[in-house]
Chain length 412, copies 2
């Protein structure tokens, strides 16, 4: 039997890589003053339809549960965030700076590398309209990618502003009902034949194409870049008004993170969605918000493709999986004595392993090396002394068994 | 809109408690030489029916996916473990010592405190028949509960041996086909009227009830307790042959962890299941195994009910959620200078927060206190100096902005 198509088993080395990513996500988010929260993996299907329309259902793992409820495995976190914030926002000082690490599910058509589950970091700031919040969010996103050893040569944050376009459309006297449709055309620019774009834009084709080729500017975008420059992060961003992000609910700054070489899909993406919580809470709570999401799959691919990042990960995961001490039981009569010391060492926080069944001494030392132990301690004929061996230097020293703890503290 | 019945939202304080539990689970498992792995949250429904029979389906969140596959949200980890071990065991040195932390789902009838999801730690040793493995597993289980500040006064591991009973049944010439049925009766002892037990046991009633009232003994159980005594853990265990655990697949030592006061359901439970991997892999791989699972719900209740454990958790989660430094921006003209320092401090690993919008200085200091900052740094009229204030002592010192890093390193 195999795992379902699109679902991953995480063998110890895969799980170590996953934990490595989670640890950096968590660490940087906390450094930036974000606190962790989470929601359920299963939610009412309605919650997602309300945000994304009925067509979302074709991409969901959704079903009717045994209580006749329409439920879905979560495809994204934002609707849950809106639900939770609407219910609890008054309990918290604003702005909220919240992050979450969890698994999400989409019934995607099977393609190479397309999974049906992935893990995602979500970071959101709720309750702040100031542009400083947008700067903080983009800076956090950059800092997180940097934490994996990537530099401005490896990745770029493409930043745009929905308002840049809505102001343009207003100046062109385009009816607001048509804005979404035109933004969708701009979103597809470069991925659709030029004639199709021109045809769809009609009278707007000339000015829009001019902006798209010459680039757009706005005071807000300048201020955003200035804020990032003050933090030394300007080299990580490009203002690029071609970025609009497909989703209708964005209301301001939007951004996407790509590898500079353009080999991969987006590493992360997000923006400001000031009206979404109001919409999803049926008007109960109106509160501005902005956020981004970063998945583990593209990020993981980029780490594995980039020598420096890959080596940093391998070094960290190897250190994380190493044990400190291996206990060699040379005489079975000493097993009880060994167990007593193992317990004491573990109680002090050392990672300690030992053979569960009798084994040759040479074999046990081999296991000690394979497990990455720094020290091996041999319980045998020397009792009440034991042999403490530093594996890197092969130095051995005889120690009385009740002095093991002190000796180990000096060696590790 | 609310979460589905039986599903939890994890607000920041709930999430901190969850992370506290996960961190201790992970830490102690690693100390004992266990490595982390994980499987998919969604698996073929068959995988669970194969282990537990068709009736398991009534308790599953199962459905037909868009590819016409019968799938289920995992109710437990062991079938996935068997699947993964059967596929990969040859890649690893035996014994495997694996642990996993994940979420599991059961469509339980709604009752107070009964959730439909919970998180569970699973620890398994695969590929070792020696009793030393059983001792190691029980010791790990004890060490994990101890890591939350519980002592032998708070909890007990009740240990039994399936073989004790199967040997008894063999000596009584009971046909093996009836063993499971009789073990089920013993499992229900004390929870069913005595007459019902007597009736079901028939001729076996007298000897079985004698064992249940006088207690059972065996050499293996004595050796198990001796092994735990060598580690100083004998006071945490009671041999209690009334424990058989309902599940048919156990083949040897079985154990359950309870609070001494008997207020809660089992904190953890497990045992040896030497034939299960062979059965689940259709005979492809025959390998002995043993393991236990511990959920977050009962453990969490016990922590909250026990003053010392609760205080340890509160202390740890408060420390975990604290920021190090709050930046007070007294003059908006200094925001860019502040951002530059914030970036530097965060890059050095400090947790730093600051106001995203202009705010009164007194308000900002209040926020600094609420966030648990050790230090506040004020950017204002003193520029190019800044005021560094140690919040606990209220001591203030003026520091040149390019000396902040050095000064902070001395203070934190």
């Amino acid at each position: 039997m195999q795992a379902l198509p699109g679902f991953r088993d995480f063998l110890p080395s895969d799980c170590a890589a996953r934990n490595y990513i989670f640890a950096r996500w968590r660490d940087v988010a906390r450094r930036c003053g974000f606190v962790e929260w989470d929601g359920p993996v299963l939610e009412p299907t309605d919650l997602y339809q309300k945000k994304s329309g009925p067509e979302i259902v074709t991409q969901l793992f959704n079903f009717t549960d045994k209580g006749e409820r329409e439920v879905a495995m979560r495809p994204e976190l934002t609707p849950t965030l809106a639900r939770v914030v609407a219910a609890h926002e008054r309990e918290f000082r604003k702005p909220l700076k919240w992050f979450s690490i969890g698994q999400f599910f989409r019934y995607e058509k099977q393609q190479r590398g397309r999974l049906r589950e992935h893990f995602q970091l979500n970071c959101d700031i709720i309750g702040e309209t100031a542009l400083a919040a947008d700067i903080e969010l983009v800076a956090l996103c950059i800092d997180i990618v940097r934490a994996f050893g990537f530099t401005e040569k490896d990745f770029v944050v493409r930043i745009s502003d929905r308002e840049f376009w809505t102001e343009f459309l207003r100046s062109q006297k385009v009816a607001p009902e048509r804005w979404d449709e035109i933004l969708q055309v701009i979103d597809k620019f470069g991925r659709e034949p030029r004639e199709k774009t021109t045809e769809k834009l009609g009278q707007l084709a000339d000015p829009v194409l001019r902006i798209l080729s010459e680039g757009g500017k706005s005071e807000k975008l300048d201020q955003l870049v200035d804020g990032l420059r003050a933090r030394g992060l300007a080299d990580f961003v490009d203002v690029d008004v071609r970025v609009v992000r497909g989703l209708a609910y964005y209301t301001g700054i939007v951004f996407e993170v790509f590898d500079r070489a353009g080999k991969f899909r987006a590493i992360a993406g997000g923006g400001r969605y000031d009206n979404l919580i109001e919409q999803l809470s049926d008007g109960a709570v109106s509160i501005p918000a902005l956020g981004f999401a970063m998945g583990d799959v593209v990020l993981g691919e980029l780490i594995r493709e980039t020598a420096s990042a890959r080596e940093a990960m391998q070094k960290a995961t190897a250190a994380e999986q190493k044990i400190d001490i291996y206990i060699v039981i040379a005489k079975e009569e000493r097993r009880a004595d060994a167990l007593a010391q193992i317990q004491k060492l573990r109680d002090r926080g050392y990672r300690v392993d030992y053979p569960l069944a009798p084994d040759k001494v040479a074999k046990q030392f081999q296991t000690a090396e394979q497990l990455g132990a720094g020290i091996a301690i041999l319980f045998g004929d020397e009792w009440p002394q034991v042999k403490v061996k530093t594996l890197a230097t092969r130095e051995e020293v005889l120690v009385l068994h009740d002095e093991i703890i002190t000796r180990v503290a000096n060696l590790l």
